[in-house]
Amino acid sequence: MNEILVPFLVSDAVASTPLLLAAIGELIVEKTGVLNLGVEGMMLAGAIAAFATAHRTGMPFLGVAAGLGAGVALSLLFGVVSLTFRANQTATGLALTIFGRGFSALAGAGFVGIPAPALPKLHVPGLSDIPVLGPVLFGHDALVYLALAMLAAVAWAIRATHLGLVLRAVGDSHDAAHALGYRVVAIRYAAVAFGGAMAPWRDWPGPICRSPTHRSGRRT
């Protein structure tokens, strides 16, 4: 299902970049047999952390780091409650989403309408100047290309590497993986943290911090 959705989302490169990244992250999480419904929460909370940091410091890359940190921290919180404490995954993910929505709305209230410092645009000499195709294919900010590269890399890694095989195996049969000596919980933690790192790119680094009451892209 994810494999069909992902290329579809690529169609609108800029708007869908955050969704694409979050989808890649959640795809890895689901491959290991965990359902984290908190993706939206991590997207929103991470994005606002990134935005606020970038805005305060004026350094977009510091914002990127803050967003990453927030996403991973929230995903680990999910991991502790659902993997270590073995609470219901659905409800735990939902808690994360409800929290993230509230957090981003609260923290983001002061930033509505303020442009964020943007990441540098990638200008490819020659190619970006081609009429029509140039602006569509080239000249987006670096994140767009990063997302596409990640998509290719993750698709390849899942299919062709041993790490990808282990991820799929853990999701396929918890017991069989355990019997072969794989540390199932640790692998799931790692996948959840990866999902957290990939989530917080919503609305960032877009030109305007939109009101985060929109809901889209939960099911990625």
Binding site: L37, G41, F85, L106
Partner: protein, 355 residues
């Protein structure tokens, strides 16, 4: 190292202490967040939890707000006890409002005795159909009801936005995303004239009581409980799983639809894009806070309704966004789930050498 040790049985003490501990932890965490935001924590907690009740209409607003939460929470408790995860109550809530509201908009002149019951039926059918669709997908195609019910919730949300900004938009509404006001005949019957105290205030606790009775005292409820605890034993007893999934999804969906209709006709009087501030999701917290006991949904629903009012109060009095409600609710659910570890386990400080 902390070590998690199974108790081997469910702790009676923690059954009741765990939600209280979760509440206390939530208060502390929320206070910390306020402190970080530079607000006096105690004042904020006061504004959030107590001030709304002291307002002029506090004791009227709270139960009205709690009606949809209790109605949905109590029925979700029933489904969750059977291990049937209807996550899409929010969409069923909205669909109920759309279907019932559609009847109101189509027949504004119909007499009250006919119109409101017809709307209520349409609302329950609309919500039930959303739930039934998820049940059908689970039984017929083995599709996980968590995901399908959630996706259906998004479809409902967008359908509502489409309708109130498009075909159903009030031509006199200055372009606001809302429908025309319902006719008086279409409004939920009031218990006290000129207030929002509507039928739902009586209906919600009765529904909780009835659901509790069904779950704890009837053969049907017994079947739900066995299915949730031991599916193989349910087969041994001859309790058909598919039939139980249908019933759980239809009645939890139908109730959510009815709740949505009551919200639209009881407090709003029209359909707007902001019909549900996530009531259907909050109802899941209500179910968990109420220990998945249909009666527990009543106090839990009141508490979470208070969190909505508190958010509004914080916005007005402290200039904080009412999004604070979501933070409070998210932390509460997290703490609840975390504290439930103590139900079946105890935590020991284990010296490394001991292993």
């Amino acid at each position: 190292m902390f070590k998690i040790e199974p108790r081997g049985h469910e702790s009676k003490v923690w059954r009741y202490a765990s939600p209280l501990l979760a509440l206390a932890l939530t208060g502390v965490t929320a206070g910390l967040i306020f402190a970080l935001m530079g607000r006096p924590p105690l004042l904020t907690v006061y504004t959030f939890l107590i001030a709304p009740l002291l307002q002029q209409d506090g004791f009227e607003a709270l139960p009205v707000k709690a009606v949809p939460l209790i109605m949905m929470g109590t029925r979700l408790s029933l489904a969750y006890r059977a291990n049937i995860w209807n996550i899409g109550a929010d969409g069923q809530f909205i669909m109920g409002a759309i279907c019932g509201g559609g009847v109101a908009l189509a027949f504004p002149e119909a007499p009250a005795w006919l119109l409101f019951p017809a709307m209520a039926a349409a609302g329950a059918i609309g919500g039930g159909a959303c739930g039934g669709l998820a049940a059908w997908l689970r039984i017929g195609f083995n599709a996980n009801e968590i995901l399908t019910s959630l996706m259906i919730a998004y479809i409902s949300q967008y359908l509502l936005i489409y309708l109130v900004t498009g075909p159903w938009r009030d031509p006199m509404g200055f372009g606001f995303p809302q429908t025309a006001l319902f006719s008086d005949n279409a409004l939920a019957p009031r218990l006290i004239a000129d207030t929002n105290v509507h039928l739902g205030i009586v209906l919600a606790p009765l529904l909780a009581l009835a659901t509790w009775f069904v779950l704890e005292k009837s053969l049907l409820g017994f079947q739900f409980r066995v299915l949730g605890q031991a599916p193989r034993a349910a087969r041994f007893a001859g309790f058909g799983e598919n039939r139980l999934i249908w019933i759980a999804m239809l009645i939890s969906g139908g109730t959510a639809g009815l709740a949505g209709l009551l919200e639209a006709t009881g407090t709003l009087g029209q359909l707007t894009t902001t019909l549900s501030p996530g009531y259907g999701f909050t109802a899941i917290i209500v179910a968990f806070l109420g220990r998945l006991n249909p009666l527990g949904a009543v106090p839990a629903g009141l508490l979470l309704a208070l969190s909505f009012l508190g958010g509004d109060a914080a916005q007005i009095n402290l200039g904080l966004s009412n999004a604070i409600t979501g933070i409070f609710q998210g932390i509460l659910l997290f703490n609840l789930l975390g504290c439930d570890l103590l139900l079946l386990n105890r935590i020991r400080w284990a010296a490394r050498a001991a292993s």
